[in-house]
């Protein structure tokens, strides 16, 4: 259970200007929820994810996961609850280290790290895990990650983010930097991994089709607020067009730029 209550976050842009990125936001997601998040640029989607992950502290409000209040925990201490995949495929792995070393690091997510050898005795487990990706990485355990393609790195990141089954998985446009074919493969993997583990998934996307197809719930953000929360039959009857319409209704004006961007 992920609960966010009355959260606010304002950024100072300098020169006395401020941006209210998140306004009095309330949000609750239960175990097994796969929530897609849509909204135009600057709507607060990434800020929301960063606040949950602890990159910034909120100005006010509370965040709790499984009734543990994590509002004041630093980012590194939240890691045991939260797995993350970033938009940039380079962001989620250490390029100068080998595949097995990257996996060894992620297997100790949020735990104490000691003076035991990191990889020893885990290679079989790593091979099994990598086989699922179906990318042949199980035979390249000792290869440096920087030798992999963006798609392979993103697949590895996804695996690493979920290896220890965190309670919450945050996906921030994790397919946006990939070519369409690779992106589709990563989405397939996301589905597989999510259905295997009972997680709360929050996924930011700019692809409305994807937003409606994936998961069981879609929220739309605008100007730091959740303006639309779709689930159940209502969501099933929503098409990309009606979502776009809802979008422009919300903004009370036509945003041709956004239409072009989102369609």
């Amino acid at each position: 259970m992920l609960v966010i209550e009355k959260m606010n976050k304002t950024f100072e842009l300098g020169g006395g200007t401020f941006k209210r990125a998140i306004r009095d936001l309330d949000f609750t997601a239960a175990k097994g929820d796969f929530v897609t998040i849509v909204g135009s640029n600057g709507a607060g989607k990434s800020t929301l994810l960063n606040l949950i992950a602890g990159v910034y502290a909120p100005d006010s409000g509370n965040i709790s996961i499984s009734s543990t209040n994590i509002t004041n925990l630093p980012e590194y201490k939240r890691a045991k609850y939260i797995g993350r995949v970033f938009q940039d495929p380079m962001m989620g792995t250490a390029g100068s280290m080998s595949i097995e070393e990257n996996l060894a690091m992620s297997i100790k997510r949020g735990e104490k790290r000691g003076l035991k050898l990191g990889v020893n005795g885990r290679r079989e487990q790593f091979r099994t895990v990598l086989k699922r990706l179906d990318l042949g990485l199980e035979n390249r355990l000792k290869d440096q990650v920087r030798l992999l393609s963006g798609g392979q790195r993103q697949a590895l990141t996804l695996m690493m983010a979920t290896l220890t089954a965190p309670e919450v998985l945050l996906l921030d446009e994790h397919t946006a930097a990939l070519d369409p074919k690779t992106a589709a493969r990563i989405i397939e993997l996301t589905k597989e991994i999510v259905s295997d583990n009972q997680l709360i998934v929050l996924m930011v996307t700019h692809n409305l089709q994807q937003a409606l197809e994936l998961g069981n719930r879609t929220i739309m953000m605008h100007d730091g607020e959740i303006v639309l929360d779709l689930f159940g039959p209502e969501r099933e009857n929503t098409s990309v067009d009606s979502l776009l319409e809802a979008f422009s209704r919300v903004k009370k004006e036509r945003f041709l730029d956004d239409r072009a961007l989102l369609a």
Binding site: A79, F86, M90, M91, T93, A94, S96, M97, R109, G118
Partner: protein, 333 residues
């Protein structure tokens, strides 16, 4: 005393303090420290210029006070580690940029080092029993120091190799590679950096305390240029051995250190004055660091490209020849 005089004469004959091999090994410990910060943590740490003489000052003072040289050497390690901790604290908690944090610690350490040595700028160890004299008494003058330093540098390398493959060591390496990622995996990156700087400067301090015992004095000015010499060694080792993985890289760092000392000796033989060495070192480092850029200078670019295309043509010819052979073979089949 006559032995020491002989020792001093020998060293003076070489123009620098001792043979390059001995120096390469004893400074190799320092180079491992520089490797940790520069290559693994990706942190240009200037603390080294202060923690090196700190280690020397602590060990020299301790030995003159009658403390056993082994303990004195470890005290040098802890002194250096403390200095590294200060730099790490300045950088991570007070948010002072990496370079400046190192410079501040280094500057402060100058005064600290003078204090440690009781207000004197030079502390001789001529009549004292040190680790170096102990080994020289045991294994002979020629091999004593080499054996001692080789032993310590190899042990240090093995410990580092092991450490960098432990769970903690992996996290430490990721700290320098991708800070955001390892933070998302639950590692306190601030603590990681502080520990790394402490460990690296500990090695530097230990190297300093051994150098003091080796040259039989500690001097407040002995740290100047240490960072650059350390960098030169790391870069030299990398360029020649092109190591893959940690075990190769620590090996390359030590051999880089030895090669660097040989280079310096050659430079001296070639007629450079001892006072020119720092300039030689600086130019060496500039050359190595700018090598990728040098390729873009039009004049050099032409040379490199003409060579490359010549190589390519060779390759194409070879391949064509092979294909020809292949097709002939095919025809004959």
């Amino acid at each position: 005393m006559s032995r020491l005089l002989f020792q001093a004469v020998c060293r003076n004959m070489l123009g620098v303090w001792g043979t390059p091999l001995e120096q390469g090994l004893v400074y190799g410990i320092l180079v491992l420290g520089v490797y940790l910060t520069y290559r693994i943590l990706d942190y240009p740490d200037l603390t080294v210029d202060g923690s090196f003489p700190l280690g020397a000052a602590i060990a020299a003072t301790a030995i003159t006070k009658g403390i056993h040289p082994i303990i004195a050497t470890f005290l040098g390690f802890f002194g250096g580690a403390l200095a590294g901790t200060v730099t790490g604290f300045l950088n991570t908690k007070l948010k002072i940029t990496g370079l400046l944090a190192g410079i501040l610690t280094m500057t402060g350490l100058y005064s600290v080092n003078l204090r440690v040595m009781g207000g004197r700028s030079n502390l001789p160890l001529l009549r004292e029993s040190t680790l170096v004299t102990m080994f020289q008494d045991r294994f002979g003058f020629e091999w004593g120091a080499i054996l001692l330093f080789a032993l310590i540098v190899v042990i240090t390398k093995l410990i580092l190799d092991y450490f960098l493959h432990t769970e903690l060591g992996l996290a430490f390496r990721a700290c320098g590679d991708n800070e955001r990622m390892i933070k998302a995996l639950g590692v306190d990156t601030d603590l990681c950096k502080i520990l790394g700087l402490a460990l690296a400067n500990g090695l530097v301090g230990m190297s300093g305390s051994l150098v003091a015992q080796y040259q039989a004095f500690a001097d407040v000015g002995m740290g100047i240029g240490t960072v650059v010499a350390g960098l030169a060694s790391v870069i030299l080792g990398d360029a020649i051995f092109k190591p893959k993985g940690i075990i190769g890289a620590t090996f390359a760092a030590i051999f880089g250190s030895i090669l660097y000392r040989f280079t310096i000796t050659i430079a001296l033989r070639a007629g450079f004055a001892a006072t020119d060495l720092r300039l030689v070192t600086a130019i060496l480092v500039i050359g190595a660091l700018s090598a990728p850029r040098l390729k873009e200078i039009p004049f050099l670019k032409k040379i490199i490209e003409s060579r490359r295309s010549a190589k390519l043509e060779d390759e194409v010819e070879k391949r064509e020849a092979l294909q020809l052979i292949g097709s002939e073979k095919h025809a004959s089949d």
